[in-house]
Symmetry: C2
Subunit: 415 residues, 2 copies
């Protein structure tokens, strides 16, 4: 039995315990975790200093260093977000359907935990805590595998959480961190059938692709966001500028930021210069189609076909002039990643057509794509944003970490 | 571009049309299909005769020949079941959640089709029609791949359905059959990312395993049923006998039939002889643990460890005496396939414990596992029984063939 299989077995045992405890007990554990994260502050920050030192020595960029760094204030915020999960309703044990058959058989459809949730991620250390506590609240055991850059921090956070679980007489194995950060351990997790019920990768397009290609366990694809704003012929140009500016520049590194603007030919010559002015102020590089370049002049690079398929996650925006709403929809359904898509329009029929025909988790009319988020969508907290259609789509909260079972009660019915 | 990729592209185009038509239009198509299946009766039965001849020549068993065979009566039943789907509520376009944010953003969660559904199956010709019409009613285009034994029949059924679609001005490509029945076409379907949104295999354990191991498209595992009845210490022995008899012998070839009986030690010596008497009348072969053999005598074979992991789909039953309810639950969670599991008991606490701790799509108290079925569970019709926890669990009806999207409407909101 490999180390990961052993972890899987321990997670299953822990999941069985989680499946039988009350909401109060789970909230007690969450409170204990929040307290212990603060209590272990010095160990956690020391571990983080080690990661930071190694990352700095390896030449990590300033923005990534910032993401990696923990401060007392950030740790406090993490602990507080754990406490906030206690206030969210328990997603498990809800009766979500049912009835009584003519033969007297009583059928009840009840929400249940998924069991063991695997997560592979590359992101900030706080993801370790976020993922672990959302799994805990939904009665799932978690097996977490982060990147090697944050391994000391992640281990310290894991230890603090496991000790808190033990302090309230729950199995520490409800939360396990994979210490082996080699590619092999990720590949093995992807094939840990029989131990992991669901695998959720969070990270860049390369990670997601590797999981989709290699995983034999059920997967929820998350997060790749090649998002568009389509500026319709009939739109309010001011509004379109504000939305494009906000969706591109308020936080370019996140998945609900846009990477493309499609502009109807009829409005391109009046809209594009205004848009360029707004984006120039933020130093956004524009890569345009020939028509865009013609309108805006030589300061705009010509976009390659690849640019329309790229999630820049940076101050870069691909721009294309289209002949019709149909062409815009077709472009989005071809190049988009089914994440968040927006139309800016005053035309009722065009808004309905866009909303119906664009295939994405979230489709916007006259609002920034940046709202695709568990908090904004009323889910309370979020473990990721699904870009697939199976199981969950868009922001995933606690409910999306559950399955259901049918409970059938009779008095001897046979068929 | 391969042939399957071309089929995928055509299916996507057809799915886009299906996504925009009304329920009435879909019902019109279903009625046209039902009528044309009857209208094309002679072509379909002729094609079936070809399949039957080839199957007979290849030495196919009588029971499989019977499954393959179509008669006017059976074709009529198929056509009628198509018509019945018109009466089911449309699963698409339902508003399933939403609200208005403090900033005025209106968020609506609406059910949408999955898009293109792939199905690989080995079963009876009627599955072609069942799958195609359930996909159609849920606005999904379908790519169907059956076994080579039924290829003439399946093709004739596909043609009849496609012509019916054309007769009501819908794209024939809403329904496509893969004519290449080689292993290669199945493998290619499993990796048809970007074309197939969901793949649903229906068939034996070998097919399911191959799909789970090879597929890179999202999969819903179906149908493998290694199901148990646990006969508790405190049960009504008569009832336990009837349930075991019904669950084993009313239709041994289906996935909701049981393969195992677990008996509490305290009741084994009184229950097992009665059970044996009932099952002897149906010529059921028992394979027992040493304790079972001791109680029932030499006429019972000793079960191998493998027997407890085998879906016999036949008049064979594995029997094991257990020391406790805990042992029964542990055995089921280790050897079961998460399909349908039953406890026969008079004890309230034991019934609750079993229902909570057994990990399966359907958990029964005092009723036969044979009720796990879309019709019985109120879903109207069924495209398969999911044994995974992601997306859908247990019988899958029309709702389980949908996803959802968020529609977000604003008047210029930015974040």
């Amino acid at each position: 039995m490999t180390q990961l299989q052993e972890m899987g077995q321990r997670a299953q045992r822990a999941a069985r315990v989680l499946n039988t405890i009350s909401t109060s007990k789970k909230n007690e554990a969450l409170n204990a975790i929040a307290e212990n994260l603060i209590h272990c502050q010095s160990e956690i920050l020391e571990a983080n200093a080690k990661d930071m030192e190694a990352a700095w020595a390896s030449g990590m960029s300033a923005s990534l260093l910032d993401r990696l760094s923990l401060t007392p204030k950030r740790l406090n915020a993490i602990a507080q977000s754990v406490q906030e999960v206690t206030a969210l309703p328990d997603p498990v044990g809800k009766v979500i359907g049912g009835g009584t058959n003519p033969n007297g058989l009583r059928i009840e459809k009840v929400s249940v935990p998924l069991g063991v949730v695997g997560m592979i991620f590359e992101a900030r250390p706080n993801v370790v805590v976020d993922a672990a506590v959302l799994c805990l609240k939904s009665s799932n055991a978690s097996i977490l595998r982060g990147g090697k850059e944050a391994i000391c921090t992640s281990s310290a956070l894991e230890q603090a959480m496991r000790k808190a679980l033990e302090s309230v007489q729950l199995p520490a194995d409800c939360i396990q961190l994979v210490k082996d950060t080699s590619r092999n351990s990720a590949l093995e997790m992807m094939k840990l059938n029989g131990y992991i019920d669901v695998l959720i990768p969070r990270g860049g397009a390369g990670l997601i692709r590797s999981v989709v290609e290699n995983a034999t366990v059920p997967v929820i694809e998350t997060g790749t966001g090649n998002c568009h704003v389509y500026v319709d012929n009939s739109c309010d140009i001011e509004m379109a500028c504000q939305i494009v500016d906000n969706a591109k520049t308020s936080r370019p590194s996140v998945c609900n930021a846009i990477e493309n603007v499609l502009v109807h030919r009829g409005i391109a010559s009046s809209f594009l210069p205004l848009m360029k002015k707004a984006l120039d102020a933020r130093h956004v590089e524009l890569r345009g189609c020939p028509e865009t370049v013609r309108i805006l002049g030589g300061c705009v690079t010509t976009a390659s076909e690849e640019d329309y398929d790229t999630e820049f996650l940076d101050y870069i925006l691909a721009v294309k002039v289209v002949n019709s709403l149909e062409e815009a929809i077709q472009h989005i359904n071809t190049h988009g990643t089914r994440h968040s898509e927006c139309i800016v329009t005053r035309d009722y029929a065009n808004s309905r057509k866009f909303v119906c025909e664009v295939d994405a988790a979230a489709v916007y009319v006259n609002a920034s794509t940046r709202f695709t988020d568990g908090g904004e969508f009323g889910l309370g907290a979020e473990i990721g944003i699904s870009t697939q259609k199976l199981h969950a789509r868009g922001p995933m909260g606690l409910n999306e970490l559950t399955s259901y079972k049918y409970i059938v009660e009779g008095n001897g019915q046979i068929r």
